[in-house]
Amino acid sequence: MVNKSPLNQIHKKLGAKFTEFAGFEMPIYFSSIKDEHLNVRKSVGLFDVSHMSNVWITGKDAEKIISLTTVEDASKIPVGQSQYTEILRKDGTVIDDTIFMHLEKEKFMIIPNAGMNEIVTKWLEKIAKQHKMDVKITDVSKDFVILAIQGPKSRDTLQKLTNTDLGKIGFFACQNIEIANVNCIISHTGYTGELGFELQITPAEKAINVFNSIMEAGKEFNIKPIGLGARDTLRLEKCFILAGNEFEGGRTPLEATLSWTISWEHDFIGKEALLKQKEKGDYERLTKLVCKEKGIPRHGCEVQKNRKKVGIVTSGTLSPCLSKGIAMAYIHPDFRTVGDTLDIIIRDKPIKAEIIKPPFVKKDWAENN
């Protein structure tokens, strides 16, 4: 059985072409992936990401359980702030990456990936029980619509619909807000690398009003609805993780170059395993490659150096901004010097690709293009 977003009818009216993702029927594009992608980089786009999950963590030990089950020390994240983090297994591999929002005292909301709500909820409940924690874990994914408005004109668009000064909501801050007279949770977050906000809205019927109001307000900025196709190319250009790709088969935050998210000074599940791995140091690391020849790297393509396998591609595409093939790949630590060339094997042909320092597309791209 395939789930539908509460905005499914609106998608249809806007001419969406659909795909199935994590059990949800979602738009892959409306006009075209490239067109939508460039519109977000240059102006503004509106995404329905309701396929993602919403879980409340409330109670006296809410902060404690987040600190224990993620690599972040939640006591460092005050009310009104959110944080990107990973939930680990005991062996240090990632169960899911997520953002958690500290909305009120003893009240957090986490946003697990699409299709991960049951796994994450059950995991947190198990840990809470084991450690006899005073905490409630509530999966409310079905009740929430999630909208993301992203692009240089996203703030100007949204500002037309609220009295709250959006300029005062700092990076990764979160709070309750009224948008188009509807109560929402807003966070200054996003998956595109552009200025933007994400809105958690319940009930679904009200979200339809918000969606339509944003589309109307954004008309002067040439706002477009954006599908999952462009969502993927946008995040990949900025080297953001797609859990299903980059954590496939069991990967640790160290391998995924996410050590910057780890607060080492607190105890968390998976810490021992990570410390052991850190000490050994010989683990593969996520590496960013730009093709120097024509070709599009895809998930699963082997990466070679002098005909020897040195890694594998986890995410690949043709970058709409660069018009070049780009890829993220796990590469053996001896072969990932920035500036070096490796071969990505695409349909049995080696395509030369250069290791670069991330991101693929820099912050000022839109100004210069």
């Binding site: 072409k17 892959i28 594009y29 075209s32 992936i33 490239k34 067109d35 196709g229 993927d232 190319t233 024509k294 070709g295 599009i296 895809r298 595409t317 043709l318 709409p320 349909r347």
Partner: protein, 127 residues
């Protein structure tokens, strides 16, 4: 924006078209095919001189999200390839029946033409 199905072409169920002129067939993909692929960003054309059997992989056409195999609609030898597509692959989206042609094949077995579809029959398969 659908383009009209040209009457003077032959078609396959796998959405290739052929323009048959004497011994030679120019081959491309139909408007229906390019529409479902959306922005074509990469085309991998075969070598000139390559022999293909009907149903063999002829070339690869890639969109941002997918890799699609295009199949040889007829048996023969590749005599020409549309090199333009290496630089401007989206020509296939814009002009699938004219500027977006893929290859030219010297037909080996003319009897294979009989099993190809005409515009009417192809239209029925995509309805």
């Amino acid at each position: 924006m659908s383009k009209e199905l040209p009457d003077d072409l032959k078609y396959t169920e796998t959405h290739e078209w052929l323009k048959i002129e004497g011994e030679n067939a120019t081959v491309g993909i139909t408007d229906h095919a390019q529409e479902s692929l959306t922005d074509i960003v990469f085309v991998e054309l075969p070598e000139i001189g390559k022999k293909v059997k009907k149903g063999d992989e002829l070339c690869i056409v890639e969109s941002v999200k997918s890799v699609s195999e295009i199949y040889a609609p007829i048996t023969g030898t590749i005599t020409k390839v549309n090199k333009e597509l290496e630089n401007i692959p989206e020509t296939i989206n814009e002009s699938p029946y004219e500027d977006g042609w893929l290859v030219e094949i010297k037909i080996e077995d003319k009897s294979e033409i009989e099993s190809l579809l005409n515009a009417e029959s192809y239209k029925k398969t995509i309805q």
